[in-house]
Symmetry: C2
Subunit: 410 residues, 2 copies
């Protein structure tokens, strides 16, 4: 299927979509319900119609392009991803899944005509949570776990209420169909990996078995601030010393527990933060993820038992604030079997892996059989203008999507 024409079409479509909200440094800024976001959705709507899909919005701003199945069944095979970006993000995160869906459906229609089963490509309105403190607004509205009540008190950093922004963009007024869907047979999301594993291991496709569960904590260790010169080591209640032993023990244990477990201490604050004063307080973050909920829970339990022993030995106080708990979501084994047999037949190199990042698939995956497929991210860079995936890799992903959709729908 690989052809110069397809390569060119992919490059052109990626650049075209990235032109909406393009930043000076070749990045993309396209937050939910902004003008750039709206122009992008309207342009995608137009393109859907041009390639022979029936385009329609729902009432939160998700955009669908439908290829009607000849069997006239109710169910829909859905593919796509999200159209919104972080501030100064890249051209591929989310956008690639939308581009891939457009190109795949166009190809299928041109090559094979109408499918037996309905296929739709979706450009989900929101995933990143970068304008409002709300993530997965698009997919959450489709499955019905998010509604207007959830956004009533939300404002963006400029003070604009969520609902106002939605109305200004033309949504939230009942002009379009209700977002909640009961007709989805399955969802297939093609996305850039946002990690470096595929590139480092020389694989073209990542076949995701689970989206990991995630827990986040803020740990506060309180000791006693004192003079760095006049306080002997054995008279100290050094919050930093205690915190350091905790963090070291945490990260070592994370390395030893399971290859699928990741753990990050990305943030730390000392009080006071002065070279010649013993820290009286150390506050640090923990972000830990694993595809198995029980493994994750027992890892945290053991770590915090150890933290308690450590804090006692330093005569410091420990406070643990668990402010995020996301359960792991299993992708569809059945869909993955279909995909795997195509990958094997096409002789694509691939890796069965977990997704350490969150995606719309983790929302839709709780309601219908879902498949998440990765293409490599160069150097793992993401949420940055330097996000890059080679056209060859983008094409392999689209090639795979076409084959999977053909298998499922024709």
């Amino acid at each position: 299927m690989r052809s110069p024409a397809l390569s060119e079409q992919i490059e052109e479509t990626v650049e075209w979509l990235a032109s909406f909200g393009k930043t000076d440094n070749n990045g993309v800024t396209r937050p939910l319900y902004t003008d750039d976001w709206l122009f992008a959705q309207k342009a995608v709507e137009q393109r859907m119609n041009e390639i022979g899909l029936n385009a329609y919005f729902d009432d939160v701003g998700n955009l669908f392009g439908r290829l009607e199945g000849t069997l006239k069944e109710e169910g829909v095979i859905l593919t796509g991803s999200h159209i919104d970006t972080v501030v100064n993000g890249g051209k591929y995160d989310g956008a690639y899944g939308v581009v891939a869906g457009l190109i795949a459906l166009q190809y299928l229609k041109e090559e094979y005509g109408y499918p037996k089963k309905n296929i739709e490509v979706v450009s989900l309105c929101e995933e990143e949570g970068s304008r409002f403190p709300m993530t997965y607004w698009g997919s959450g509205s489709i499955v019905g776990i998010k509604s207007v009540e959830d956004i009533q008190n939300l404002k963006d950093s400029k003070g604009t209420p969520f609902f106002e922004a939605m109305k200004q963009a033309g949504f939230g007024q009942g002009k379009y169909r209700n977002s909640k869907r009961n007709d989805l047979n399955c969802f297939i999301e093609l996305h850039v990996e946002q990690g470096q594993v595929l590139e480092l291991e020389g694989k073209s496709i990542g076949l995701v078995s689970h989206i990991v569960g995630q827990k986040r904590f803020t740990i506060t260790v309180t000791g006693e601030s004192n003079h760095a010169g006049t306080t002997p080591m054995n008279y100290r209640k050094d919050a930093m010393h205690a915190a350091t032993e905790m963090i070291y023990s945490l990260l070592q244990k994370a390395k030893e527990t399971s290859p699928d477990l990741v753990c990050t201490v990305g943030q730390i604050t000392l009080d006071p933060n002065i070279p010649n004063v013993i820290p009286g307080k150390a506050t640090f973050s923990i972000d830990t993820r694993h595809p198995d909920e029980e493994v994750l829970a027992s890892f945290c339990d053991e770590v915090f038992k150890e933290f308690t022993t450590i804090t006692n030995s330093y005569k410091t106080q420990l406070h643990i604030d668990n402010w995020m708990n996301e359960k792991p979501v299993k992708m569809s084994e059945q869909l993955n079997k279909v995909t795997e047999s195509i990958l094997t037949k096409e002789k694509f190199s691939f890796k069965k892996m977990t997704s350490g990042a969150g995606h719309d698939s983790q929302i839709l995956g709780q309601y219908c059989p879902t498949s998440l497929l990765f293409v490599p991210s160069h150097k793992g860079m993401s949420h940055s203008p330097f996000e890059y995936t080679s056209t060859e890799d983008l094409e392999k992903g689209i090639h795979l999507l076409i084959k999977v959709l053909h298998e499922l729908a024709y």
Copy 2:
């Protein structure tokens, strides 16, 4: 010698001196050459004259009160401390040594008349370095290691040049005697401990053998910033993980090396400092002190060898910036013998100890036999309005000072 009259005099004198630059929360702010500083020095000058001392300034603003010896020798027995404070400091740091000198000399003169040898009490102009980036300006000028050249380019936070501030306070114009002295036989400084050791161990007096040497470093560990979810542990170059192992190994080693060694990591910065991003850079401070230069140097050498091993194992880069090196200073054994025999005779509980903080004694101690004596600091608090030493302890220190000066000068 203990008497209600002396207690009252001590309390009155401490409060009187603290009234210059008193803050709303009962602290003291008296930076070098400010109005409050000048009023305090002028008031001390007046008090010196009132109690029968010959008061005189030198050209940097050090203030001396002289009790002339009957032997008419050149040498001077000097006691005192510094008059300047940090911003919102306490009533005792520095001030206590000045107050003690005034009361001791008044007592000696009233009780025993003029001494054989000259005694002077000094109110040193500057020790803290809290207005200009310069410490020990007073004592450094006396011993001749600091001069106008050292301050030429220095400004305070408001942009006032050091020299301008000095001139506005009436100094630096040759109106007073040159600061450099060659007539000092010895220096005795009475100071609050600024640590909690005496209080915790129930001792009244600290007899200091050494002021510790001090080294400070800024350590930068550079790894690779990456997504906390999509980067497996074994593909990470986590600057925080490497830094944590370094800090833990450093502080453990500090505990094991020598009871006199202290080591503090008081400051750390991560880049970026975000819970769900692996830190690409970790920058932290090291402050380490010990009374023996060689022990300190070899501790640092071994630590940095270990840091190199650690950084290699994490594939991170290590940069070590050594921005402070202060050598330890030995106090006079002979003076300490005199003091110790008095302490034993008076049945004062005392502890032979090192000073982990810097004092004017470390400057003068390099030029003449010097003795540094501590009284307890409640809870070790210092550089704070909560600085506190009981009148009983203050009185014991002054009692000791009187006895030592009597022994040396009469």
